[in-house]
């Protein structure tokens, strides 16, 4: 008899994800776009902030080396878009990871411990919900240098975890009455063991789904902040700020909108497919 290999929960999930063609295609596209965004600008003759006085607002394919045209100030749109993808991806992913970690731990702890601790922790969430987040961001950006994108991560992440905490707490409340939690208690598993080994893996399904929705949300939120002048500052660019600029020129130079918007739509669609695939892979019961 051959020994069956040891497969953990994550090993199984990975095997199931690999069988999902849409999710695998989406993740390949995400990886390709990310590689292009992080390494592409180095292979282009144009820096993202250099102005080419000879070619201002030229359309793509104009017989010069600006493949995707230039913007109003004569900056290469291809390089600027890649730079924008880079910034947007960083902000989207990092802010999501921050909100995920804080939200899951906060929500699971509050839901599992219950009683007064739960009450106090969730009131903190309620109060933070009630604060206008724009003020938080404005206060943070006056405390630090304007345009420092790490302050942006902090601000966006600090706002983004609230909904996640509520979702996880709700899931935890229904989970902790389950008999398998009681069984773990009866086996002598400690509070942290139950939270990390039983509660968190069981809430991961809804969390992943919500997280894939959060990444595009964070990217859009960042572009909104950029529009208010609180986000990425010129000459830096994010997808949001590029689309914003492009939208102002859309009647005369539509490519300035289409190029960054195309990248944004492709990325967001791929994240959704990947999220779908992850959900199927992480939930063995739905198979």
């Amino acid at each position: 008899m051959t020994e069956t290999p040891v497969r953990g929960f994550w090993g199984d999930a990975w095997r199931r994800l690999r069988q999902n063609r849409a999710a695998m295609t989406a993740s390949v596209v995400i990886v390709l776009i990310s590689l292009l965004a992080f390494f592409g600008p180095a292979f282009s003759p144009h820096p993202y902030d250099a102005i080419d006085w000879d070619y201002m607002a030229v359309p793509p394919g104009g017989g010069n080396d600006h493949w995707l045209g230039t913007d109003r100030l004569g900056r290469d749109l291809y390089v600027r878009t890649l730079h924008g993808v880079q910034i947007s991806l960083q902000i989207g992913l990092l802010a999501t990871v921050v909100s995920l970690i804080i939200g899951v731990l906060w929500g699971a702890t509050a839901g599992y411990l219950g009683g007064r601790i739960d009450g106090a922790m969730m009131r903190v969430v309620d109060i933070m919900y009630a604060l206008p987040y724009i003020f938080i961001v404005i206060i943070l950006s006056t405390l630090f240098d304007r345009g420092n994108i790490y302050v942006l991560f902090l601000a966006i992440g600090a706002v983004g975890w609230l909904t996640m905490a509520r979702i996880v707490r709700g899931q935890t409340l229904s989970l902790k009455r389950k008999e398998f939690i009681e069984a773990a208690l009866a086996s002598g598993v400690g509070t942290w063991g139950i939270l990390l080994r039983h509660i968190v893996p069981n809430v991961i399904g809804p969390v992943i789904i919500y997280a894939t929705l959060t990444i595009p949300q964070m990217i859009l939120f960042e572009s909104f902040l950029s529009f208010l002048g609180l986000g990425v500052q010129e000459p830096q660019a994010s997808l949001g700020s590029l689309i914003n600029e492009g939208a102002q020129e859309m009647e005369s130079a539509v490519w300035m909108l289409i190029v960054p918007a195309g990248f944004l739509v492709t990325l967001l669609t791929c994240f959704n497919f990947l999220g779908d695939g992850l959900r199927d892979a992480l939930d063995p019961r739905d198979r």
Binding site: F9, A183, S187, G188
Partner: protein, 328 residues
């Protein structure tokens, strides 16, 4: 035989309906249970739904904190020890739950589930040794060898219960609490699980506390039986004595309610089956809690709470009229 576990006046109450402006009312789920369990003994706890059987089982394991009274485990009162001090003791007392699938973490493989008590209590074992122990135990409870890598939802109810039993038995506990372990299963599967428990008891010699509302199953497995009604003990005696000479009117009613597979006998017995509903445990009747449904209740039953007296050797009953039950 040495005493493994004894309960002294154990009470568990839950606060119900409290708010900021009104004090909560206590719901007495378990109301004064005294009991001694010897090593190697199988004790059945029977009663209707809502009589506090499961609460009693959980209070013994300190999964629900008792309101008052003592749980004495091997001479030590564990009803007030801290969660951390309790942890090493859990090695010797394990539980099997009613709903087989709900008691297994859907995200873990069967191997991980069964190995969990080993992770907590047998840290000296490495992965391979742990896996060997798990494999042995799975085989012992009658599961296929490849079960170790599969997930609970791939198994039937009876197999899931075997997984639950494997998890409970992997540390070779001295006490196995079974909370209605067969009531969610098909009748044919019930017999298999009861046989498995019997075999394990013979092999490992642990004590069993078997909570059930199924008298036939209890009769098969248990040495002694405790009858509970609204959290109070009604009768406590050996299984044989209980079924042959029940001395409490409630026990009589329970035994009469067991269906017999004989159409000629069955209808005539229905006359003596208990009527009425279980009173609300929030406002239990005065005196004897059973008097509202008792066929032989008298005025005196409403006045004083009957004590659980030893009326024959080893036969305890809480009824002032047990003599008339015995005669008629």
């Amino acid at each position: 035989m040495s005493i493994l576990l004894s309960l002294r006046g154990l009470k568990v109450a839950f606060p119900v309906g409290g708010s900021l402006f009104r004090a909560a009312k206590p719901l007495k789920a378990v109301d004064g249970v005294d009991l001694e369990l010897s090593a190697g003994e199988a004790l059945g706890i029977v009663g209707e739904s809502g009589c506090g059987k499961s609460t009693l089982a959980r209070a013994i394991l300190q999964l629900i904190p008792p309101t008052s009274g003592q749980v004495v485990w091997l001479g030590r009162d564990i009803s007030a020890v801290s969660v951390n001090a309790m942890r090493p003791l859990r090695k010797d007392m394990q539980i099997v739950f009613q709903d087989p699938l709900a008691s297994l973490d859907p995200r873990m493989t069967v191997g991980e589930i069964v190995a969990e008590p080993l992770r907590v209590h047998a840290g000296e074992l490495d992965r391979t040794q742990r896996r060997e122990r798990v494999q042995d135990m799975l085989q012992r409870v009658g599961l296929p060898a490849d079960a170790i890598n599969r997930y609970p939802h791939e198994f039937s109810g009876g197999q899931c219960q075997r997984i639950g039993i494997a998890r409970a038995m992997i540390l070779r506990p001295q006490l196995l609490v079974c909370d209605e372990p067969v009531s969610a299963l098909d009748v044919s599967i019930q017999a298999q699980i009861v046989n498995l428990l019997q075999d394990l008891k013979r092999e490992f010699g642990m004590s069993i506390l078997f909570v059930s509302h199924n008298l036939a199953v209890v009769r098969r497995l248990c040495d002694r039986v405790l009858v509970l009604y609204l959290g109070k003990p009604m009768e406590l005696t050996s299984t044989e004595e209980l079924y042959e000479r029940p001395l409490h009117p409630y026990t009589r009613g329970l035994i009469a309610a067991v269906p017999l597979p004989d159409p000629d006998v069955q209808p005539s017995r229905l006359g003596s089956v208990l009527s009425g509903e279980l009173p609300s445990p929030l406002s239990p009747p005065s005196g004897c809690v059973f008097r509202t449904r008792c066929p032989i209740a008298e005025a005196q039953c409403a006045r004083a709470v009957p004590e659980l007296d030893e009326v024959r050797k080893g036969h305890h009953v809480a009824c002032v009229k047990w003599q008339s039950v015995e005669q008629g």
